[in-house]
Symmetry: C2
Subunit: 458 residues, 2 copies
């Protein structure tokens, strides 16, 4: 235990909270052009908070919102860590569903309610304060640290990958740390070890040149909506497994010890079922719900459109039918390979009498942490020390494309360690972050740099 | 040949055309409330044209547009014929696609261009003038005749079935004649012998209570859009035949001689394919295209809707999916039986984990003429005499619900004999009726009453 760091954070608790609240008060909504000024103001606020600690800072303008970079590189011979976060937030609407105003942070029941509290202002800010604890108590840091705080995460991080690639020398690091995720449960520190990738398609089926009367023409013309349904019906076998030829060829089974640990996590299918509100669960047989969500690939229809969809009856034989279909990918499925397999499958099962096209709209690689090396060892030790409990390994069914970008461009392991909690309403009204998680997370992250420096030295 | 009738019609050709043009000039668009006055005016015009011939006439008000009934019942001991037609027309829009104004009849290349020329003003008016030929040359008619001309055919004949039922004694007839259809080809008189029925359904598949993120939840929740596609894919077997259990049980094969005659009709699959603009034809194997359209039942998807259907990619796992599906029915399929079979099928194939509901939106009985008896014999003789060619038997893939209503409520055979032609643009800009068909059809229908009276006497 680093008593000096813990004492500093404890002594400065009220001031740190005031600073966090000041940050949360700026409505940095990246999706709305009327907040352009707020975005610039937030970037300056973040820059100033780093400059005041002795970081060399630059605000980089992009075609969208600015990126803040702050470097502290005075630990000669020590490793370098890149800490990534984002200062932009989701729109707050619908405002009437907030108990207290979204940009006026309010504490109730140990929760800090505000838009951006947990996603991601509270989480990157605790890293700045953890670093401050080192600099203010010891006058130095045991590692070199680069902060990269962007303003476009909630709108797709459009300019980040190129920025990282162009500035790869400046951003060069031995490890990347991101706190933008949740813990598995209250009091249970967690390391997020995997993200699913994505291959998103649009299928268009063209039948007759125009809509036809289904009475006058029905029975002699191939119906594109029926054809589309027949195509989609081939995507899964009866058990619920994806039936696209070759789809599972590259899929790796998780390590037995991680699978065993996932199976030991307290999980409640009845509660999950109630949460989603379905009549029964489904999906690939032979896996628990968590394994299905975190470790197995999927093929989901995201949208369907054909013919008449209004009220009542219209006897139209539609000219075309459209489906949006996306596959979630797991290691080592490559989006390009899945695109090839998917398109070949659709072409193979396409009925005669219609023209079927399949367009790949966008893709993202899956990611899986190696879960070994000094940064993971340091994280485990620091989290257990601060929370009094060893971290568990979790997965995530969604995608965070920037993680693979960091890993590949910088050739450095990425540690995803988050301090959100289930039910935090990240993109909804009444977003909150646990005060306790903010404090304990800050302490853990401060302590982590000691462990990391020591682990690298060994 | 009835020389007196033919001579009267020939001598009065210019006047009859002027009268038809006056009728066509009234914009009796039933779908548009701004034409309510025009509708009343047209009903009065039709009433007056019948009154002036000695018919007892009544304009019956309905909750919609008025119905004109005219009776001539002075042929004691002779049979009674009900002639049905409609004085309302489709909206003329888009006006800019008309070569000449829709309500200013114009003759080009032997075609009378005007909205309502063939559908149905020209066709019921020729019956009035055929009757006039008898009354003006002979002072009498060989049969009793009741005209029933409604004003809501283009908006679903909402008030007609009840009207016919309530006035079944007034409308009592030995045969019903309707001219509101087309001849198979130019110069080829045709008797329309069958109409397909309809059973129209809406299927709703409910998955989770709300839309879910397809990354975070995908793989453990049954996707309602996928489930819907799987349901629809069971509606046909690989050959294109409907695969709903019991669907064909009540389907009657057409009489071999009618089927043989249909196969002899000049039909061109390549031209049909070009007309619909599809890449290949489809449907149930073992039948020609005309047989598929006229004599075989279908199951067509009319609409599909689920999840995200806008531009680009949205990773949603939809809460629900909807399909509109309708079956075209042939004798002796009963809409109620098909409803029961369809719902049982959907319930049987519905995947677990979703809630599937299937609602019957509306239905209509199929119809098939008996093609024998005095009215058919008279029609055949009169058509062959006037056109110089025996009529062919055709079918129609769509539905005209009122035909079954007449047959069942009045317990009388219905003769569908039309004088339109392929390409007549009935519901489109530049609607036309052949001048030649108007003249020859009028002569044929005038002559038909002599043959009908003689046939009934035998």
């Amino acid at each position: 235990m680093a008593e000096d760091l813990a004492r500093f954070l404890s002594d400065n608790d009220a001031r740190i909270r005031d600073e966090l609240f000041a940050l949360l008060r700026i409505p940095s909504v990246s999706a709305r052009s009327e907040h352009k000024g707020d975005m610039a103001r937030t970037a300056e606020w973040v820059r100033d908070s780093l400059s005041s600690l002795g970081f060399e800072t630059v605000i980089h303008q992009t075609k969208g919102h600015p990126i803040v970079v702050g470097e502290w590189r005075k630990a000669a011979g020590a490793p370098t860590v890149l800490i990534y976060g984002h200062y932009d937030v989701q729109p707050a609407e619908p405002l009437e569903l907030w108990t207290s105003p979204p940009f006026e942070p309010t504490v109730r029941d140990g929760k800090i309610f505000a838009r951006g509290s947990v996603d991601d202002k509270g989480q990157f800010f605790l890293h700045i304060k953890a670093v401050e604890a080192h600099l203010k108590t010891r006058g130095t840091l045991p590692v070199n640290i680069v902060f990269l705080i962007e303003g476009e995460e909630e709108i797709g991080s459009e300019h980040l990958a190129e920025f990282v690639s162009v500035h790869r020398e400046t951003l060069k690091a031995d490890a990347v740390v991101i706190s933008d995720s949740t813990m598995y449960a209250e009091g249970q520190p967690s390391i997020l070890s995997s993200l699913r990738g994505l291959a998103y398609f649009e299928i268009n089926v063209q039948g007759p040149a125009g809509d036809l009367h289904s009475g006058i023409y029905g029975g002699a013309v191939v119906n594109p909506a029926t054809a589309l349904a027949q195509i989609i019906a081939t995507f899964h076998d009866e058990s619920g497994k994806v039936a696209i030829d070759g789809f599972y060829d590259a899929v790796r089974d998780w390590e037995p010890e991680i699978r065993a640990q996932m199976r030991e996590l307290p999980a409640d299918d009845a509660a999950f079922l109630k949460e989603v509100g379905a009549s029964a669960l489904g999906g690939e047989p032979g896996y628990t719900t968590l394994e299905k969500l975190w470790t197995r690939p999927t093929c989901e229809v995201n949208g369907l459109l054909s013919g008449y969809t209004g009220e009542g009856a219209k006897t139209v034989l539609p000219a075309r039918a459209m489906a949006k279909v996306s596959c979630r990918l797991v290691p080592d499925q490559k989006p390009g390979d899945v695109e090839r397999l998917f398109k070949a499958h659709v072409a193979r099962v396409a009925p005669k009498g219609v023209t079927v096209t399949c367009e790949h709209l966008h893709g993202g690689r899956p990611w899986k942490a190696k879960l070994e090396g000094p940064i993971y060892d340091a994280a485990r030790t620091a989290l257990e020390s601060a929370f009094g409990k060893a971290p568990v390994i979790t997965g995530e069914g969604g995608s965070i494309p920037v993680v693979s970008d960091f890993e590949e461009t910088l050739n450095a392991p990425v540690l995803l360690v988050g301090f959100g909690l289930p039910g935090e309403n990240a993109h909804a009204p009444d977003e909150w972050m646990s005060e306790e998680n903010f404090r304990v997370g800050m302490r853990a992250m401060a302590e982590m740099w000691d462990h990391y420096a020591a682990a690298v030295k060994q």
